[in-house]
Amino acid sequence: MTWQVAVTLLQTPSFILPSPVSVAQALATEAGGLLVNSWVTLYESLIGLGIACMLAFGTALVMDRWQLLYQSFYPLLVISQTLPVMVLGPLLSLWFGFGMAPKIILVILMSYFPIIVAFSEALGKVSTDQIRFLQTMGAKNWQVYRILKIPQGMQGFFAGLRIAATYCVSGAIIGEWLSAEAGLGYYMIRVKNGYQIDKVFAAIFCVIILSLALNLGTWALQKGYYRLLIQGRKPTS
């Protein structure tokens, strides 16, 4: 594996990059705690990602409908992504306390942006001819969305979701660094401050598993959506 090679070749001190073997050992001994903490982080990530999806879906539609809104809202979106956690952190704990809320909000903040950008982009690409054609058939605006724009735009939505699913676990972790009682981020901070780098990497291993799982989930969702959209039609010869 590249990792073992890197460790060996680059002679990276083990306090910076522990050997896979010691990480595996840490994984084994800490399995119980990691599982519990992973569960907390996964929970926060899923809730946050879910809310971000719904928010991004809704606002992208609204902003697509009223383009002026998009143009004035977009800079705010960019700004929301540039605020460093250093500043957001205290604000979030001030407004939302030390519970799960601030973590979920961070997940939302990190997931919302890629989804809305990619979804908006895809919505904007739908052919106006096709839209107008539907309108000559009496389609109201919401029907144009239901029948045409959403089915076509979902491609972008899922591309954004895939990026978001990759970031959202990091969002939860960063949230847990602010203050927490459980979760992989909390665990990571504690073992890191104890200089137990092998355990830090064991936690990262869990983060990676969660991120990959969420990513797989988005592929499954995408498949499911298209299956629902094109209801199991097969040529019946």
Partner: protein
């Protein structure tokens, strides 16, 4: 009140390109009018003006006394490109109007039409699984199931083989009176125009304007009669040729 479509001195310029010039025409209620012109003249553009997809640069368009301003649902419109929705199967695509307007679907009627159009075995196929001609028939069926008072058909039979085309033409003619609606048909097939229309408007090449308005009132319309119309066909062909050459200058 007489329900008519009226075009008064309609002109259109797109991107510095004059497409229609001073088109004036009246299409009376219940008539079947064909539009014949060289390729690229502006026929599709004219239909787009009626549906409100485009706005004229000069002149006015009226339907039943009301001016056309912007998109409207007065017409049942078959665009030149089929505009089938790729994620809907044949069944869903043809009943789009009913789905949009929450109207009940007469399934027996739909099945009968699908059979007639040779599509009944393909009702659950997606557009990408159909041949070019099949897509066109699906689009035509969708238009026929739209109950609007006027029909605008842009080359509905262009991709069909001679036999299927003849079948469809005969079917159109044989429709009961209540399904016979005021129709504006764009076609490249002069025979087809003669066979189906009460009136044929021949347009010049771009910028299009009406160069001939031919009324047809046969007592009985069938293929036999059509065979006798060779002189008219030749005349229209000649018109097209001259239309093309004047514009080429």
């Amino acid at each position: 009140m007489i329900m008519t479509i009226t075009l008064t001195h309609v002109g259109l310029t797109l991107d510095d390109l004059e497409i229609l010039r001073d088109v004036t025409a009246t299409i009376t209620d219940g008539s079947f009018v064909s539009l014949i012109a060289p390729s690229g003249a502006g026929k599709s553009t004219l239909l787009k003006l009626l549906t409100g997809l485009l706005t004229p640069t000069t002149g006015t368009l009226q339907v039943a006394g009301q001016p056309i301003t912007g998109l409207n649902t007065t017409f049942s419109y078959l665009p030149q490109t089929d505009m089938l929705l790729p994620w809907y199967d044949v069944d869903q695509n043809i009943t789009l109007y009913q789905r949009i307007n929450h109207q009940p679907i007469d399934h027996d009627h739909v099945t009968a039409l699908l059979t007639l159009f040779g599509l009944v075995d393909y009702r659950h196929f997606l557009p990408h699984q159909l041949s070019g001609g099949m897509r066109q028939r699906v689009a035509l069926l969708r238009t026929m199931l739209n109950p609007a008072d006027y029909r605008l058909l842009d080359e509905p039979f262009g991709a069909l083989d001679a036999m299927t085309r003849g079948l469809m033409q005969d079917w159109l003619l044989s429709l009961p009176a209540d399904l016979q609606k005021t129709t504006l048909l764009v076609t490249h097939d002069i025979e087809e125009a003669i066979y189906l229309s009460d009136r044929i408007l021949v347009l010049s090449a771009r910028p299009a304007h009406v160069i001939r308005d031919i009324a047809l009132t046969p007592t009985h319309r069938d293929r036999q009669w059509l065979a006798t119309q060779a002189p008219l066909k030749a005349e229209i062909y000649e018109l097209l040729r001259s239309a093309e050459s004047t514009s080429m200058s």
